[in-house]
């Protein structure tokens, strides 16, 4: 049974429809990447899965429950955590405090989980009492991901995790994503560095103008010349 199963999702802002019926699924333990030209609806798809944007039609099932009508804060405890592209940390809180806020909904003591996060991200452990606003771009991105992992989600949604990072740091972030995935967390991400992202993904989707145009395994999509044509509109 797929972990996430979306069918015929339509969504948009105001009277402008961005997604015109998108089907998408993520199986347990998968890394799935959505790529596509600007304005194709990638972020909107993420947001309608998380509940920040309300789907106007279609069904979204997560872990055996139908969620498209739920409020965003009800979806989080189901095991669905989201890292926005920007403004994804609390800048005046320390790293430890950021993690505590990530685990706000947990009722147990957080120390154990925080220690696990510091094991996963040794860079953050060194700076545990630094304010998140003082972190560099790459560390901040790790901070944001670690914050989202505090609730031990089944599915982690990442919106452009490498935006604004240097090529070296990009590699680090992709490595981090693979490490997280190795612990059994499924990942759905939107990425601009299509080639690199697809090379670490099990599967990928190419969105254009609010529709899924291509779907394939990661490596095969990465080598598909049709993808480039979709970006430049010359099919």
């Amino acid at each position: 049974m797929p972990l996430l199963d979306a069918t015929g999702v339509r969504a948009g802002y105001g009277d402008t429809e961005i997604l015109h019926g998108v089907d998408m699924r993520v199986d347990p333990g998968e890394i799935v990447t959505i790529i596509g030209p600007n304005g194709s609806g990638k972020s909107t798809m993420m947001k309608s899965i998380v509940g920040i944007v309300q789907a106007s039609a279609g069904e979204i099932w997560f872990d055996g429950r139908r969620i498209e009508a739920m409020r965003a804060d009800r979806r989080i405890p189901l095991g669905l955590c989201y890292v926005p592209q920007t403004e994804n940390v609390f800048p005046t809180l320390t790293i430890t405090e950021n993690l505590e806020m990530g685990g706000f909904l947990r009722n147990d003591r957080l120390d154990g989980r925080i220690r696990e996060m510091f094991d996963l991200f040794p860079d953050l452990a060194e700076k545990r009492n630094t304010k998140a606003g003082a972190l560099s771009g790459g560390q901040r991105q790790m901070m944001a991901v670690a914050r989202a992992l505090m609730l031990e989600p089944k599915l982690l949604l990442l919106d452009e995790p490498t935006a604004g990072l240097s090529p070296l740091l990009m590699g680090t972030v992709f490595q981090m994503i693979q490490n997280i995935n190795a612990t059994g967390v499924a990942i759905l991400m939107v990425e601009h560095n299509a080639k690199k992202a697809l090379s670490i993904s099990h599967r990928g989707y190419v969105l254009a103008v609010g529709e899924v145009r291509l779907e394939n395994t990661g490596p095969e999509l990465a080598g598909d010349p049709q993808v480039g044509r979709l970006y430049l509109g010359n099919e």
């Binding site: 998380v50 920040i52 965003a72 804060d73 989080i76 405890p77 989201y82 926005p84 403004e87 994804n88 940390v89 609390f90 800048p91 005046t92 809180l93 405090e97 505590e100 806020m101 990530g102 706000f104 909904l105 606003g133 914050r147 609730l151």
Partner: protein, 335 residues
């Protein structure tokens, strides 16, 4: 974001501005040291301002508006204490070196609770509804103005306008070298303010609810996405701001040599309070504390050469000077 784009400064201007800031800081320190007695008084005044300013800045942090009713919330705290001292609690004055008696120690927490309840009520009955209507910030601000008038009207309805006094007994001063004389009440005021400030600091840094308050102030969307109930955070914030305002109101009365109160005492402090908030950097509670001390000392030291009644104008002038050099205040980060 577009409008502020033309604020880039050349290196020479930046350097000149740094020099001017350093000169101003030195002038401030020299003036304060030359009138050390007044400066010490300024710290006492500053501690009351701090209690009020921290509340204003906390509310600003989560709601993004400057609460005009804050001064009158302080007044409310003072009158609640007055009611308790005169009508409910046993009469007692002259606790140790202080002009007041032990009943005040009971009255302070009760006033804090009462004003906290008032503040929470303001949010539930007025501000939450305005948020639901997606009213803009200034509309919310005008509503706080309406509440300010209503609170004052309520106080005048119940207690009328003449000056009232807390039960009090003649006072002595502790004299220290360098012309410093300290009224015992002032020590109490500062001590109480310090205790409350430390309690607030611990709340904000050690408790889950306090951290959630700071998180909501930092990034409300991400707070919601982390499962934090931001509506409840707002209530907490109002409650804490109200409690601090209640305490500040009571302390304001015993800070005064004759323990007098009237329906305008809180409102009259609004300009210095806003000045403290702005000087410290809007939204930053530690900045508000620092700003309050700076404003308090400036106000008291100014009485060496200006009429004491000009103190609010001095507070305002200091604010304008600080803003000229640091548009976001001393510790401000939010735009």
């Amino acid at each position: 974001m577009f409008i502020t784009a033309r604020t880039m400064r050349s290196p020479a201007v930046v350097r000149a501005s740094r020099v001017a800031q350093a000169v101003l800081a030195v002038v401030f320190v020299v003036l304060a040291l030359s009138e050390i007695g007044l400066a010490v008084n300024g710290i006492f005044l500053g501690s009351i301002l701090a209690l009020g300013a921290v509340g204003i800045t906390l509310v600003f942090g989560v709601m993004r508006f400057a609460n005009i009713a804050h001064g009158d919330m302080m007044t409310m705290g003072a009158y609640v204490a007055f009611f308790l001292l005169v009508s409910v609690l046993p009469e007692h004055t002259g606790l140790g070196p202080f002009t007041f008696g032990f009943p005040l120690l009971i009255a302070i927490p009760v006033s804090m609770a009462a004003v906290a309840a008032l503040a929470v009520g303001m949010d539930v009955f007025v501000f939450r509804r305005l948020r639901l209507h997606r009213a803009n910030i200034v509309t919310i601000e005008i509503a706080s103005l309406g509440i300010a008038i209503a609170i004052r009207g309520f106080i005048q309805m119940i207690w009328d306008t003449p000056v009232r006094y807390f039960p009090n007994e003649g006072r002595q001063h502790f004299s220290l070298p360098a012309d410093i004389s300290i009224a015992p009440n002032h020590l109490f005021v500062s001590g109480a303010a310090l205790v409350l400030a430390i309690a607030l600091h611990l709340l904000l840094t050690r408790t889950k609810q306090g951290k959630a308050m700071r998180a909501t102030s930092d990034n409300p969307d991400l707070a919601r996405a982390s499962g934090i109930n931001t509506d409840r955070v707002l209530l907490w914030t109002w409650g804490i701001a109200g409690a601090l305002a209640g305490a500040a109101g009571v302390l304001l009365v015993i800070f005064n040599a004759t323990s007098q109160l009237k329906p305008t005492i809180g409102f009259q402090l609004l300009v210095p309070l806003f000045a403290a908030v702005v000087v410290g950097g809007i939204g930053n509670p530690y900045g508000a504390f620092l700003g309050a001390m700076l404003i308090g000392v400036s106000m008291e030291v100014s009485t060496a050469w200006a009429l004491p009644t000009y103190k609010p104008a001095i507070a305002f002038t200091v604010m304008v000077i600080v803003l000229l050099f640091r548009p976001r205040g001393l510790l401000g980060s939010k735009g």
